[in-house]
Each structure stands twice: as structure tokens, then as C-alpha cells.
């Protein structure tokens, strides 16, 4: 934990003390990160959440039951009927394998946990891991401050300050893991790829920093660390296994390398950090079935190869520079540049030709919608229809990162104060992730760790300044002789000088690097920094000018310290700020993000209501239908149906086949008879719709219906969106268009709805429905849950006999007698 830069008698004791303290603080952070995510288990139950986690859960069950080879070769014939889905080749296996291994390990230790339990608690466990990884990553750019704190001749006051600093940095880091946007994806039960992927992401970044030795200048300074570079590739492999977001890594790291090269910070350490990552990383990535040749074929990965070429050229230039005379070097340089440009031109031409031949320019739809935020809404309604692919609103930033939003700028400033390679990497990270989070709300997840690191640096810097001010003024306060202070300063300087001497002796050759490296520590810097404190909860708002004192070079230099009172108040305020932030995080974890969405609750004047309709419906399907029956529903409910009801579905949340989804969308948008024909051709037996009009559950199928029309109409042009809109307005009341009132989704949602209150008042749309009394001719209702949230219909078989052509009798007497006849044709609306 503590930088092992020096080892003197008393110092080593303090170091040990700091180490133990740091260890326990980290332990507490892990515990906190784990336990803050248990709200969902306490408030609801230990259950898998939402949609995708159910698929992951089902896959994990399969893995634990059948072993890894069957998992790898798994062709799932219970989904996407009749196309099926090759699970082994289309799934990111990291999460599944992780949970499966945990389960296997526990079982072998005779701890018989169910697979579900393991799955539920995987995300909290990994968020603790992610907290530790963030600590490590934050330490890298923040090392300068730590060096200051753990410098030679620490007094008790400094130790205290250091402890506070540690505490704060750690609290921040732990908060980082408590940052609501990350909590939202990693509460207990949210068994999704992101749960482990964020850990892998941060850890990969940490290992990259570590392997390029950007922080560690006390050992193997000029060689980098191949060991960490290999670990880095392995960590990258784990990330590739876990989440499609690995492309973020493989683009961000090349960007940083390029930045280092452009700013003249190239070193062999950088090369050692980067080259193995590209080679091993790409090789390993292509071993993951779902990535395969994409690792070298798609545009997402081109940046890494381009930079790979550039770094080799640069390395060559440096090498030639070393062995040739300056004159020769000039000649060689022009030669290399000419050849290099020619080769680059040729490669570029080939690339452009290759890329241009692909309609999406070699990018996947999801990546394109990142680069061009309007892309999805224009071309791929299926991506645009997912709510988590929408851009976030401003309030969601306040909700999700809260105080950090104000601390991040301060952190960025702090990173620039001594701009090291590590801090430039973090700046790059925050900049890109802010952009991405602005495009897609789910990528707030990537922003969260970056924001936390930045805020951690900002807070640590601020505390450093304040505690230092206090430290230098405390002795005066207690009338202690100033010699102590001067001795301290002398010690500090001695230590620094010793250190620098050591460094110098170790790196006599790499001139350029050492200057780069030492520039910040040698120069005397004075910077002013503004910290904006604008927490919602905090009453006092205002700015506070903070003067920060950096390292000193000579004894004669004046100490820039803040007044004691100001420092004390500022520390207090910062602690209050942190406390409010913690309160917000806990509130968000407990209230906003812990709902499993499979069980819903609502508080009303007469107490708590629990809506367990989804599980009720899936249990009904499981117990009352044949095991091979096919159930059609909108794709949102596919994963849950296969996992909970174990019935074959037509489409599910893995939206790999747009046409198939469009077929279901078309059926839902068609009148009864064509819909029946479409479903019958797919061997569908049951149709499941989610209807929230009775209890006011807003994310029901009627609200999603326009997407069904759009997606269906994208493939089958006879479905036209304007047919469902009255003057551009989507409505279901009496003003709705006849197409809308006759489509299957409307009928299945509102069938018999008028019987509930006599008027058919829809609580979600807040209107009376347009068509109240109607009969179904080709479908029959078989099950409706307690709160009408899920309604299951069965396709009626074709009539046993075809009726003749004869018209009905005119004789009313006969007609009234034949009640059967009456029932068959009574439909006042047709």
C-alpha cells in the first residue's frame, strides 16, 4: 500500500503500520461494496433480476449440469424457434464460467449452494474486486501525492494526515464502487456481463499502467515489465470473455500510446506494455468463439493494429538514432519516412477498399451508433428500441454520479499538475467515457469508475493540501520549537534528493525519459485550484480557493500554506460532502436500483402491494402446457420464458435475427386472422402479452407496441406506422384508428378489460379504451394473472368441419332456439 521508497528504522515501522491499516481499510471497502448491494436481497428476495440475467442464469445452469464442452457446443433449440441459437458461439462466456467455477469450487468444498445463489451473489463479489482494482488504478496517477505523504521523516502529524488521506482516498474509491450507476448493474441478483466486466476493465487498465511502469520509477525503470504485460493480456482476455465492451479497451490503450508517442514520451517501457498486449491479446481474443475472426476483421480493432505499426516505426527510429551518427540518421530518417509513408499509404488503400466494400464500413451496428448517435434511430429500430440504448437525460447524471460530477473537473486539473503518463491515461479515459455515456445510458457504467478515480484524485489532492497546511502550523500552535519543522523539511529534502540520486544512477542513458519523468518533481510548482462544492444536499454552496503547495526544491523556498482555520473548515466541509454522497449512494442502492423488476411493489395508502404476476404466469405455463409447446411474445420476455417456464420461444432478448422479430411484430400488429396464420406457421401454441392498464404498470406491450409496428414494418412493408397513429398521435381511446383497434395486440391486451370496472379505464394511458366489447375468434384466453399484468392466450385450432354456405334462417323463432349458433356469431363490432 505504502510506497516502499525508503526503509529506515522508524520509517519501516510506520510503513508496516500504514500497510496494516491500509489492508484493513481495503477489506472494509470490499465489505462495503459487497453489502451495499444486498438491499435487493433484503428488500425482496434472493432472486435473479430483469431479463438478460435470466439467460445467463439458464446458461450457468446448463454449464454446471453438462460441463464445459457441452456448453461450448450448445445448440439451443428452445429459443428462436425454429431457427435455434448456437449458444456456445454467440455468448460471452466470462460471467458464466466465473459463476460456474465458483459454484464448482464451493461444491467441491462441500458447501452445497444452489446455482441460483451463486449467480445472485456473483455481482456483489465482483464489485468488491472492482473496488480493489480501482484502488490500484487510482494509486497509479495519484502516486506523486502518496510519495509526498510517505516521504522521509514523517512526523506523527504527517502520519495522521496520511491516514486521513488514505481513508479519504479509500472512502472515495469505495464510493466509487458505490456510485449508483454501477450499483444499478451490479446489485445482488443482477447477474449480467457488466458485473464482472467492469472489474476486468479496471484491472486491465491497472495492469497496462503497471506493465508500462508508468508509475513505478524505482525499479526496472528502463525495461518495463513483461510479466505485467502478459498479465495484462490475460486480463484483457478475461474482459473479452466477459463483455462486448472490450472494444473500449482495445481502442483506449492505443489512443494513449499514440498520445505518448505524439507528445514525445515514447519509451521502451511503453513498447513493452503495448506490443505484447496487441499480439497476445488479439490471439487470445480470437479464441473466444463469439469474437473469433472479428478480432482481426472488424473496424473496432483497426486502431490497435495501426498504432502497433506506428510504435514499431517509432521504435525503429529510436534504435537507428542510437546507432547512427546524426548525419547518417538524417538520411536514414528521410528514407524511413518515405518508405513508411508509402507502406502506410498502401495499407490504408487496402483498408479503405476493404472497409468500403462492407455496407456498415466494417463496424457493427452498436459501435456505429456510438460513433454516430443518430445512426440507430435512423437505420436499426431494434437497437433504438432498447431503453438502455437511449441517450441519458441530465437528471440521470445527477442521479448516477451525484457529487462526482463536480469533483471530476477538479480531478482533471489535479491530473495535469504533474502530468505523468498514468495521469494522461486517466484523463483520456474520463474524456472518452464521458462521450460514450452521453450516447448511451448504459455506458454510464464505464463512466462511473473513471469519475470515481478523478474525484478520488481531486479529494486526495485537496486533503493533501489541507493536512499539509495543518501539519506545518500545528507545531506553531503548540509553541513547539521550529527546529522540528525545519528538520522535517530537511529530512524531506534529503529523502527526495537521495531518491533522485538513486533514480539518476539507475538511468544514466535514457535522458529523454528521465527528464520527462522528473520534470514534475524537480520543478517548483504553484497552482491554484478551484473546487466546486455544489452537493444537492449541502446547504452551503460556494467556491473555495485552495492553494496547493507542491514539492519544494530548496530550503530557502517559502512554504505556501493555507491558514489553519481555513484548512480545518475545508476538511470538515469535504468530509460532510463525502458523507452526503455516501447517504445518496445508500439511498440509491436501497430505493432506486434494487428492484428486481420481476417482482414489483407499490406503496399506497392501504399498505404495500406486491405484484408477482410475471412469475405467476411463467409458473402457469410451466405447469399447464406441454413441454414442447411454443410460446410467442414480444422479445423482451423471451429469456424469462425459457428460463422460468422452460418453454420454447420464438424470439428473445438476443436480438440476432431482425426478420424473425419483425415476423412477431407483424403478427402483433395484424388483425386476428393474419396473426393467427403467422403464429400457426411458426407452430405457436400460446401467445403471451404483458398488460399494465389494470394496475398502471407503464412498461407494458401497448407502450412498446409502436416499436413492434416499426420493426415489423421495416421488413414487411404492408405494416405502416401511420395506420396506427391518429394525426401522428399514438392513442388507444375512441379516437384511435381502426387498424389500431383491430390489431392483435390491442385485442389481446384489452379483451374482457371492460369487465373489470365497467368502463375500461386504462390506468397507464389514463383514458378509456376505444373498443370495449369484442370477441376473439381465433384466440382464446387461457390465463390472466392476478393483476392482469400477464395474459396468456391459446391459438384456437381450425374448426373441425368447414361450414356450408347457407345463410342463416330468416325465421327468428328458429334462431332463438339455436343458442349455439347465436354464440358462434355474436360479434357486435363486425
Amino acid at each position: 500500500m505504502v510506497d516502499p521508497s525508503e526503509a529506515k528504522g522508524e520509517g519501516s515501522l510506520r510503513k508496516a503500520f500504514g500497510g496494516v491499516l491500509g489492508f484493513f481499510i481495503l477489506l472494509l471497502i470490499g465489505t462495503l461494496a459487497f453489502s451495499i448491494r444486498l438491499f435487493s436481497v433484503i428488500k425482496y428476495e434472493s432472486v435473479i433480476h430483469e431479463f438478460d440475467p435470466y439467460f445467463n442464469y439458464r446458461v450457468t445452469q446448463f454449464l454446471t449440469k453438462n460441463g464445459i464442452y457441452d456448453f461450448w457446443n450448445w445448440f439451443d433449440d428452445r429459443t428462436w424457434y425454429p431457427l435455434g441459437r448456437v449458444i456456445g458461439g454467440t455468448v460471452y462466456p466470462g460471467l458464466t464460467l466465473t459463476a460456474g467455477s465458483i459454484w464448482w469450487l464451493l461444491n467441491n468444498l462441500n458447501i452445497p449452494l444452489s446455482v441460483e445463489t451463486v449467480c445472485v451473489f456473483t455481482a456483489p463479489i465482483f464489485s468488491a474486486n472492482a473496488a480493489w482494482a480501482t484502488y490500484l488504478l487510482t494509486k497509479a496517477p495519484a502516486h506523486l501525492f502518496e510519495v509526498k505523504g510517505t516521504g522521509a521523516g514523517l512526523t506523527a502529524a504527517v502520519l495522521l494526515a496520511m491516514v486521513i488521506l488514505f481513508l479519504l482516498v479509500f472512502l472515495l474509491i469505495s464510493d466509487n464502487q458505490n456510485v449508483p450507476s454501477y450499483i444499478s448493474r451490479s446489485v445482488a441478483g443482477s447477474y449480467d456481463n457488466e458485473a464482472v466486466a467492469i472489474f476486468a476493465l479496471i484491472f486491465t487498465f491497472y495492469l497496462y499502467i503497471k506493465s508500462s511502469d508508468l508509475k513505478n520509477y524505482t525499479q526496472t525503470l528502463n525495461t518495463g515489465s513483461l510479466f505485467y504485460a502478459t498479465l495484462n493480456a490475460l486480463s484483457y482476455f478475461y474482459m473479452v470473455c466477459s463483455w462486448g465492451g472490450y472494444t473500449f479497451i482495445i481502442n483506449l490503450i492505443p489512443m494513449h500510446v499514440l498520445l505518448c508517442i505524439v507528445t514525445g514520451r515514447y519509451s521502451s517501457r511503453l513498447y513493452i506494455a503495448y506490443a505484447p498486449l496487441v499480439v497476445f491479446g488479439t490471439l487470445l481474443a480470437s479464441l473466444v468463439p463469439v469474437v473469433g475472426f472479428n478480432a482481426v476483421m472488424t473496424s473496432e480493432h483497426f486502431a490497435s493494429f495501426l498504432v502497433f505499426i506506428i510504435i514499431h516505426v517509432v521504435a525503429l527510429v529510436y534504435y537507428i538514432k542510437g546507432i547512427l551518427s546524426p548525419k547518417m540518421f538524417k538520411v536514414a530518417m528521410t528514407l524511413i519516412v518515405t518508405i513508411g509513408i508509402a507502406v502506410c499509404g498502401a495499407v490504408l488503400a487496402i483498408l479503405i477498399a476493404l472497409v468500403a466494400s462492407s455496407p456498415t464500413k466494417g463496424w457493427s451496428g452498436r459501435s456505429l451508433s456510438l460513433l454516430d448517435p443518430t445512426y440507430a434511430s435512423k437505420y436499426i429500430p431494434i437497437i433504438a428500441s432498447v431503453s438502455e440504448h437511449q441517450p441519458p437525460t441530465w437528471p440521470s447524471y445527477f442521479m448516477d454520479i451525484n457529487v462526482l460530477a463536480f469533483l471530476v473537473p477538479a480531478g482533471i486539473v489535479a491530473c495535469f499538475l504533474p502530468l505523468s503518463d498514468a495521469s494522461s491515461f486517466v484523463i483520456l479515459y474520463i474524456t472518452t467515457s464521458v462521450y460514450f455515456s452521453g450516447v448511451m445510458v448504459r455506458l454510464m457504467l464505464v463512466l462511473a469508475p473513471a469519475a470515481c478515480i478523478m474525484s478520488g484524485i481531486a479529494l486526495s489532492e485537496a486533503f493533501d493540501v489541507f493536512t499539509r497546511s495543518i501539519k506545518f502550523q500545528l507545531p506553531k500552535l503548540f509553541e513547539t520549537p521550529p527546529s522540528d519543522v525545519w528538520q522535517l523539511i530537511g529530512d524531506t529534502n534529503n529523502g527526495t534528493q537521495d531518491e533522485l540520486a538513486k533514480v539518476d544512477s539507475k538511468i544514466p542513458t535514457e535522458k529523454s525519459e528521465t527528464t520527462v519523468k522528473e520534470r514534475p518533481s524537480k520543478k517548483n510548482r504553484k497552482k491554484e485550484k478551484e473546487i466546486l462544492e455544489k452537493g444537492k444536499e449541502i446547504k452551503e454552496k460556494g467556491k473555495e480557493n485552495v492553494e496547493k503547495v507542491s514539492d519544494k526544491r530548496q530550503n530557502a523556498k517559502k512554504l505556501l500554506v493555507l491558514p489553519l482555520e481555513a484548512s480545518a473548515v475545508a476538511i470538515l466541509l469535504l468530509i460532510i460532502l463525502g458523507a452526503f454522497y455516501v447517504v445518496h449512494c445508500v439511498w440509491a442502492a436501497a430505493e432506486a436500483y434494487s428492484a428486481p423488476s420481476i417482482v414489483l411493489t407499490s406503496h399506497s395508502h392501504d399498505g404495500l402491494h406486491v405484484f408477482d404476476d410475471f412469475r405467476e404466469a411463467y409458473a402457469w405455463l410451466k405447469h399447464n402446457t406441454d413441454v414442447d409447446d411454443k410460446v410467442a411474445s414480444w422479445w423482451d420476455y423471451g429469456y424469462q420464458t425459457t428460463a422460468m417456464a422452460n418453454r420454447t420461444v420464438i424470439v428473445d432478448n438476443n436480438t440476432w435475427n431482425n426478420t424473425h422479430i419483425a415476423t412477431v411484430g407483424t403478427a402483433m400488429s395484424s388483425p386476428e386472422k393474419p396473426a393467427w396464420e403467422i403464429f400457426n406457421s411458426l407452430d405457436v401454441k400460446y401467445v403471451l402479452v404483458v398488460f399494465g392498464g389494470f394496475v398502471g404498470y407503464p412498461s407494458d406491450d401497448i407502450n412498446k407496441f409502436l416499436w413492434m409496428v416499426r420493426i415489423g414494418g421495416g421488413v414487411f412493408p404492408h405494416i405502416r406506422e401511420p395506420d396506427y397513429l391518429r394525426d401522428g398521435q399514438y392513442r388507444i381511446d375512441a379516437q384511435a384508428t381502426p387498424t389500431m383497434l383491430n390489431c392483435l395486440m390491442y385485442k389481446l391486451s384489452y379483451y374482457r378489460f371492460v369487465e373489470t370496472d365497467g368502463k375500461g379505464f386504462d390506468r397507464v394511458r389514463r383514458t378509456e379504451i376505444g373498443k370495449k366489447h369484442f370477441k376473439l375468434t381465433h384466440f382464446e384466453e387461457v390465463f390472466t394473472t392476478h393483476h392482469w399484468m400477464v395474459r396468456i392466450y391459446k391459438l384456437k385450432p381450425p374448426k373441425n368441419m368447414t361450414r356450408g354456405k347457407s345463410k342463416k334462417k330468416i325465421n327468428p323463432k328458429t334462431r332463438t332456439k339455436i343458442s349455439y349458433q347465436k354464440n358462434r356469431n355474436k360479434n357486435p363490432w363486425q
Binding site: 373441425n800 368447414t802 356450408g804
Partner: protein
């Protein structure tokens, strides 16, 4: 309790029927599809004696006949959810309303549950009877009969000659359906006597078949009144006897003449007026077509007996036996093997059904493979083929629908998956340059390492 019949015919639409079928024990089962217990509903118990010949042929074939008046208040087809009868003979054309709880829906449910029905109407057919037949897909001549209830089928060319010159409503028809399954192997030589109302069928309705049709010269009108407007039903559009095989293989016979079942028609000889295509003896035919030909006996007996055999599932009932479908890997191709056994009910036992036109589809949204199954003459049909290079959930589908036979619709779902990781070819000849490249690189690297480390 026998296995329900429908359980082996896979079609989805039968599933609702399965529940009903499984409740009852009865003759309509996989083991013995022939009906046993029949209910005869009559307007007048006199029919029991006037049509005794027909009933006795049924009884002699082992059926239990239960005669009841159509308006008997104790009338019930089912009790405690179980049907009491396997078949129903509606010999009560004029009934306005059934007794007991039985109504139109009850009759249709009876058929939908897989039971058989013989419906005989005549010129006095009530609305109820007409409604039943309409639901089955048969429209009795209605428009005219509504104004004029006595519309009968009249044929001035192929009427049956009787002692007195009648109104030509007694028709002798010999235009049968060409199917040995329905009408038996033995050819019906004599024309069938018919007196009653005609009906028409919807050409789009594939479930209904015309078994006995009128001659092109026939028309439907009231013989007593003068024809004011052209008759709505004319010529061979008029069907005299029709059969329906419902989607659940329940069979229905509908005829517009109750008299054709009577002893009188069964026993009487037939003289067919005019030029007859079919004669009893080719010799007589050569003497002159204008002559009245006298046959010994009408064809009613044979026709009605044979067709009742069909209706009550003594004939033309198929079932599938063991069905086997498997996929295996052979020479790097997935091969499907499919075999199915098909048996026919002969009235007393199951016999292998031997034809050469049974086809199987390998189906996923559309047929990928369509193959005729080869037979071993013992009822086993089999084939094997290479699986198309598409994976998904395929179905083996046998849709066997032939005239007179119950439809056989089998489907067996089988997923076609990609190769497992260890099912691919281990070494590919075309890849030898790559193997060479990698091994030579490894060797070169080794040599380089040795040279670099020890050569200095």
C-alpha cells in the same frame, strides 16, 4: 382404458379433442377404431320396422343399436362427461327440437369429439336438420324449399321406372365416387334408388365429398307445382349422398333421402329409364339403349352397407406405428434416418398398409427435403438423406391424405445442430502449407535461440 386415438396423430388442432377422448373408454380407439354403440333417433318408431333390413345388417356386423324418439325427453348423448354412444344415426328428418338436453351444439360436439354421424333427411327436413348439415358443410336445397317445402330432386332421364308413371322423383343413380376405400372393393352394379331432397357442396370445402351424385339432367323442384323460375340446383351439382371426414377424422354421411334406407328400396328391383351408361349385362346393352332395363335388385343394399362400413371406420382407417428419426454423423456429413410404420384397420385387425406414395418432408418454415419413403411391404417406410447445411429445429413431416383414408399427419421435431468441436476434420489437406509454416517457424525460433545463446 385404451390410448386415445388422437394421441398418435400429431396435428395440433386435435389436442382439444384429446382431452375429451381420453375421458371415455370406447371403440374409437387406437386398437379398435370401429364404432360399437350406435344411437338411432327416429321421428316415429315405425321406422324401426320399415327400415329393419338396414338396421339388421348393422346389427349383424356387431353394432349395438339403441332406438329412441328424437323428442324423447330422456335423450342424452353423454353422461358425466362421457359419451354413451360412438355413432349417431339421425333418421328423424322432421324433428324441430330434440328432446332432453340435446341440441345442435350437442350434435356438433359429438362429432368434434371424434364420433360418427349418419344424417338422413327428406322433403320434410326441419330447420334443425338443415342446420346440422350446414354446419357439416352440406347445404340442402334451401332457397326453394323455403318457399316450397316439397322440392325434390327430379330427373326425367334416369328415373326409376315403376308400375305407374310417377313424377320422376324416384331416381336411380349410378354416378358413384371412384374409390374402393369408400365403397368397397366390389363394384356396385345396380343403380341406387333415391327419393328426396338434393344438396350442394362448396367446392372450396376439401372435407366434403360427393359419393352419389345426380345425373346432368336432374334438377331440384317441387314436382306438384309448375316451375316458374329456373331451379337453383341443377345437374351434377346436385349431390344425393355426401360424406364428410372432419379434421379429427370423425365421419359423417348425409343424404337427402330417408327412404333409400327403407326395406322397400333395399328390396325392390330397379328399372332405369332412358339410356343408361351402366347396365347389368353388356349383352342387353347391345340390344338397344332405349329399352327399359330391369335389374334384379337395387344397389341400395350394397351401397349403404359399404358406405356404413366406411362411416363407422371399418375401412380406410390408418394409424402410424413406430416412428423413428435419428441423426448421425457419417463421413463428415450429418445423415438423417427416418422410418415410420403405417397400418390400416381392416375391420377386425391392423394390417400393414402398403403403397408407394408416402412422402416425408424435412421442414423448417419451408420444406428443405421432400422424399418418397421406400417401403418394405410390411408397413415399414424408411429413408435416409444428407442433412442440408442449415441448422435449426427441423421437423419430419408426413402429411398423408388420400381419398377415403383418415388423414395421417405426423411431425417429429429434431434439431440440426452445428458440429461439435471434436467432430470436424482434424487435419485438412489444403491447410498443410500452414502447418508447415507454423512448425518451421517454431523450429527456426529454436535454432535461433540456441545460436544466439551459445554462440559468442
Amino acid at each position: 382404458m385404451a390410448k386415445p386415438f388422437a394421441a398418435l396423430a400429431i396435428p395440433l388442432f386435435l389436442l382439444s379433442v384429446v382431452s375429451l377422448l381420453s375421458l371415455r373408454c370406447g371403440a374409437f380407439s387406437a386398437d379398435r377404431p370401429t364404432d360399437r354403440r350406435l344411437l338411432v333417433l327416429v321421428d316415429d318408431l315405425a321406422i324401426r320396422s320399415s327400415h329393419s333390413l338396414y338396421f339388421s345388417t348393422l346389427q349383424s356386423r356387431g353394432y349395438d343399436l339403441d332406438f329412441k324418439l328424437a323428442d324423447d325427453p330422456s335423450l342424452a348423448l353423454s353422461q358425466y362427461g362421457q359419451y354413451l354412444y360412438d355413432g349417431l344415426l339421425l333418421f328423424s328428418p322432421s324433428v324441430q327440437r330434440f328432446g332432453g338436453s340435446l341440441d345442435l351444439a350437442g350434435i356438433l360436439d359429438f362429432v368434434d369429439a371424434g364420433h360418427d354421424l349418419i344424417l338422413a333427411a327428406d322433403s320434410s327436413a326441419s330447420d334443425l336438420i338443415r342446420e346440422i348439415s350446414t354446419e357439416c358443410g352440406v347445404d340442402f336445397d334451401e332457397a326453394i324449399s323455403f318457399q316450397d317445402p316439397a322440392a325434390l330432386v327430379i330427373d326425367h332421364t334416369s328415373y326409376a321406372v315403376s308400375e305407374t308413371e310417377g313424377d320422376h322423383t324416384l331416381i336411380a343413380s349410378d354416378i358413384f365416387i371412384e374409390s374402393t376405400t369408400i365403397l368397397g372393393d366390389e363394384k356396385i352394379e345396380a343403380p341406387v334408388l333415391f327419393r328426396g331432397i338434393g344438396h350442394s357442396l362448396n367446392a372450396a370445402n376439401s372435407l366434403v365429398l360427393k359419393v352419389l351424385s345426380a345425373s346432368p339432367a336432374a334438377y331440384s323442384a317441387n314436382p306438384a307445382t309448375k316451375l316458374s323460375s329456373p331451379p337453383s340446383l341443377t345437374g351434377s351439382a346436385i349431390s344425393l349422398v355426401s360424406i364428410v371426414q372432419a379434421r379429427n377424422n370423425a365421419r359423417v354421411l348425409i343424404t337427402g333421402s330417408l327412404d333409400m334406407f327403407s326395406n322397400r328400396f333395399l328390396k325392390s328391383g330397379v328399372q332405369k329409364a332412358g339410356s343408361s351408361i351402366k347396365t347389368q349385362s353388356p349383352l342387353l346393352f347391345s340390344f338397344g339403349t332405349a329399352l327399359v332395363l330391369r335389374s334384379e335388385k337395387s344397389g341400395n343394399q350394397q351401397f349403404l352397407t359399404e358406405i356404413s362400413k366406411w362411416v363407422f371406420h371399418e375401412r380406410g382407417h390408418l394409424k402410424e406405428g413406430e416412428c423413428m428419426a435419428q441423426v448421425f454423423l457419417s463421413m463428415n456429413f450429418l445423415v438423417k434416418e427416418y422410418s415410420v410404420e403405417i397400418y390400416e384397420w381392416s375391420g377386425s385387425s391392423w394390417k400393414p398398409y402398403v403403397v408407394d406414395d408416402v412422402q416425408v418432408q424435412f421442414y423448417m418454415m419451408s420444406p428443405y427435403v421432400l422424399k418418397t419413403l421406400s417401403t418394405d411391404k410390411k408397413g415399414l417406410y424408411s429413408t435416409s438423406f444428407k442433412v442440408p447445411d442449415v441448422y435449426g429445429v427441423f421437423q419430419f413431416k408426413v402429411e398423408y391424405e388420400r381419398l377415403g383414408y383418415t388423414s395421417l399427419s405426423l411431425s417429429k421435431q429434431i434439431p440440426v445442430r452445428p458440429f461439435r468441436h471434436n467432430e470436424y476434420e482434424r487435419f485438412i489437406t489444403t491447410a498443410f502449407p500452414y502447418y508447415g509454416a507454423s512448425f518451421s517457424t517454431m523450429a527456426a525460433f529454436f535454432i535461433f535461440t540456441v545460436v544466439y545463446l551459445y554462440n559468442k
